[in-house]
Symmetry: C2
Subunit: 315 residues, 2 copies
């Protein structure tokens, strides 16, 4: 079987992890990658060890979309600030280059909602978009859909994540997106913060951020899948340590519901503490990317959430 020819948009911490992981997979070939400064592309496949962004250009995203080589699938690991940035990038990409599979690892409800509205465009362009396909939403949200199967009614889904990053500089964009979830902060405010501002904020808390009631798209994706009746039943929060690579808490999805026999119980999905945020985001994203190619090959176009390619919830 020919490998899937993948383009990666974004060369930050997640983009670099994607590049390394794609390099280990015989079923995938990295053919294009871009950052804000330029892009690299090769029909033969790029080195996944070292990328030379040898083609500087003003509009790297446009350049990838207009590149003459074949691209089967696109993984989007750009920072998503403002909220509409990635949905807009994906919309522009597919208009320039139809018949493609696009996967994002978006986190915010507002951003995923905007992606879901691209369904007619994806169908029109014979494309497939998979949205919210990282860790949360993504892996943990999918686990909630599985867990829901045992219950006649789901009361709550609680996602509590732990992330430990020894060098926060490598994941600037991710940390900035999380700062945007803190009380008193917004996507706009986080975006305008200088690196000194971020460092000063982290200094106050010893490098640790604890976040509650995060606006995460797990809510809309689980409502859409029929796991919950209302987005309020989904709660996402977590603890990020920006100075130590050990996770401050174990990342856990807990789904609580009522059984056929009328009892309350909880299923849990717990990630191993040694697995990194990058592995738990990019691994699932590539699994969804392959499923997206499967859907496209069968003529099933449109936008799918991470919860839409699983056993279904029966109402």
């Amino acid at each position: 079987m020919e490998p899937i020819r993948v383009a990666v948009l974004g060369a930050g911490g997640l983009g670099q992890a994607a590049r390394r992981l794609i390099g280990l997979k015989q079923e995938l070939r990295l053919v294009a990658i871009c950052d804000s400064q330029g892009f690299a592309a090769s029909t033969e496949g790029l080195s996944c060890e070292h990328v030379d962004f040898s083609i500087p250009c003003d509009e790297p995203l446009k350049a990838v979309a207009e590149w003459e080589g074949a691209i089967d699938a696109v993984l989007v690991t750009l920072p998503n600030m403002p909220n509409e940035f990635i949905p807009t990038v994906i919309e522009q990409f597919v208009r320039r280059r139809p018949q493609v599979v696009l996967v994002d690892v978006l986190k915010r409800t507002a951003a995923v909602s905007q992606m879901l509205r691209l369904d007619p465009l994806m169908k029109e362009t014979q494309s497939v978009a998979l949205t919210g396909c990282g860790a949360t939403p993504g892996l943990l949200t999918a686990a909630a859909v599985l867990a829901a199967q045992s219950f006649i009614r789901v009361e709550r889904v609680d996602i509590w994540w732990g992330v430990g990053i020894a060098n926060w500089a490598a994941h600037k964009a991710t940390i900035r997106e999380d700062i945007a979830h803190m009380p008193g902060y917004s996507v706009e405010r986080a975006k305008t913060m200088t690196e000194q501002d971020v460092a000063a904020l982290l200094e106050k808390t010893g490098g640790v951020m604890e976040l509650h009631h995060m606006e995460h798209a797990d809510d809309i994706l689980l409502e859409r899948a029929g796991v919950v009746d209302s987005q309020d039943q989904v709660e996402v929060g977590g603890v990020m340590d920006t100075r130590h690579s050990n996770k401050p808490v174990s990342t856990t999805m807990t789904l609580t519901g009522i059984t056929l026999e009328g009892k309350r119980s909880s299923h849990r999905f717990i990630l191993g503490d040694e697995t990194t945020m990058a592995a738990n985001v990019i691994g699932p994203a590539l699994g969804y990317l392959k499923r997206g190619c499967w859907l496209k090959a069968r003529g099933l176009f449109g936008v799918f959430g991470c919860t839409d390619v699983l056993p279904m919830v029966v109402r």
Copy 2:
């Protein structure tokens, strides 16, 4: 949307749980059910509280297949002894009545292998079969496919289940199938045991059975999905208490693998102790049944394992 018209083959413990659960779902309508003695059917829908097997017949399975009313999907909850019984029932059913969705909750590797070989027949009859769609294989196997996404190599999948049943008489067939996994026993020997034999066996162990190295189809389904290279990497065992409804151990799927950074780690999926075996088997089976109808409506015919409608594993 019109409800999915469901037939349930088998009216033992699992068949009864299926009937109760279907009764709670507005998206499903129970139109036919049979046991070894007779069958009941109604295009308007049967009562899910009490079924009167008012139509006695020699061949209830054939009678359901030849019933004149419409059936969209069939859930098979018959005891599977011998190993080829359910695959044969499904084969005969679809030959008599093509264009249908069939879901089984088979456990043994030999039985699921036989189901997978029906793929050409299912395609030919424009049907969809979903195999191994109970708890294990099923819910826990699907969780293993999700868990695998975070790792570059999976070393082991360990499934350790706990089942507590206060009255074993209601789940005779399930217990008999588990006895068949005990050292020195076989499907044939378990089938020929009288109820007194089973009671005597359970008496010796205080009603508790601990099983290791069970021949469970989680192995073939995870190999097929690319989660493991070899079926030996999958281990299924558990403890059944036939005298108390409390689970003797928490049912847990543990997947151990190597991360992108070269570390060994384990993700775990743990079922709530208050959820019963019946809920963890029949709930997922109905979720797969709905997905099967989705596949069939899109012209995607064939046999799918419980691991085949999820994010894919990239090799």
